[in-house]
């Protein structure tokens, strides 16, 4: 599956050389997706903005550690995940193993247009998403937001591919069910 970032020409090499215009272009491209992802974890505007700023600062400082320029997007989301999850853990204190049901999950691509929603369904979709456990929701948001591969999501969240696959499967299933329930 092609990630959204793969079909773009991102000026990562220029940013690496210290070009501030390149950094501006990269941050402009990712600021809203990053904010959206972080917001799912922290549920507070100001905190999410502060964490986006922290992600930008860390990206500037540590760009040297990025091996493949093409992976810039998932690398950036990796930093965002670390920041958001760390904040969430401090707030929650207890990490509930909500979806760690490891096991065989059916393979298979999504139906084309499965997640195409009408304008009037937007609120229903967001409400249903909010009801998902955070570990499922975060994986689903990464999947929806950047169309990242299972490997990339595993790299971002620091868990195995099997876990990502499982979370994604149960998240989709739960979301579908919730949307059906709301409809009926």
């Amino acid at each position: 599956m092609l990630a959204v970032a793969d079909i773009e020409q991102l000026p990562v090499a220029e940013a690496r050389a210290g070009d501030s215009q390149a950094w501006d272009a990269l941050f402009r491209r990712y600021q809203l997706p990053l904010y959206t992802y972080i917001y799912e974890w922290v549920r507070d505007e100001q905190t999410a903005l502060d964490l986006v700023q922290e992600v930008f600062i860390r990206a500037v400082r540590h760009l040297g550690t990025l091996r493949e320029d093409a992976k810039f997007g998932s690398w950036l989301f990796g930093i965002a995940h670390q920041q958001a999850a760390q904040y969430w853990r401090k707030r929650q204190r207890h990490l509930v193993a909500l979806d760690e049901v490891e096991g065989e999950v059916p393979d298979g691509p999504e139906e084309p247009g499965e997640w195409l929603l009408r304008q009037e369904d937007n609120t229903r979709f967001l409400q249903a998403l909010e009801r998902l456990p955070i570990l499922q929701r975060s994986v689903l948001v990464l999947h929806f937001m950047e169309e990242l591969s299972l490997e990339e999501i595993a790299g971002i969240t620091g868990v195995g591919i099997g876990t990502v696959k499982s979370r994604l499967f149960y998240a989709r299933q739960a979301l579908r069910r919730l949307l059906e329930e709301d409809k009926s």
């Binding site: 210290g18 809203l32 959206t36 903005l49 500037v60 195409l116 937001m145 169309e147």
Partner: protein
């Protein structure tokens, strides 16, 4: 609409604040990068130019200080001059003593020349022996 579009649309209103965050980080980046860059030859020349004038000004100031130090009267002789009245008497006494010793020695030398305490020189004695 795709889930991506729905998710992003939900937060569109925050974009001006995200722009501000981005600008702030970029301004910081610019501030930290600027001093790290090596100065251009023109900048280096102007710095050395400014340094040259600073050096000249500093050298001039030091020269003035040194000249002032040389021209200033020594404070120690000034203190000695203040008790000059006391040492005048001492000086007179010293002069008198010196004069007395001089006269004494002169007196001794005249007496030696006229008296027979000391033996006569051999040049004066020997002719007498040969004559005898």
């Amino acid at each position: 609409m795709t889930p991506r579009e729905i998710l992003l649309q939900q937060h569109r209103k925050i974009e001006p604040r995200l722009d501000a965050v981005r600008r702030e980080v970029l301004a910081d980046l610019h501030r930290t990068e600027s001093p790290r860059r090596s100065p251009s030859p023109a900048a280096a020349r102007s710095w050395f130019g400014a340094g040259r004038w600073r050096f000249i000004a500093l050298a001039t100031a030091w020269l003035i200080v040194i000249l002032l130090q040389v021209d200033l009267p020594d404070p120690i002789p000034a203190l000695a001059h203040s008790d000059a009245a006391l040492s005048t008497r001492q000086l007179t006494l010293n002069v008198r003593e010196n004069r007395r010793q001089l006269f004494e020695s002169l007196d001794l030398s005249t007496r030696a020349a006229s008296g027979s305490d000391e033996p006569a020189p051999r040049s004066a004695v020997q002719p007498k022996l040969f004559n005898a």
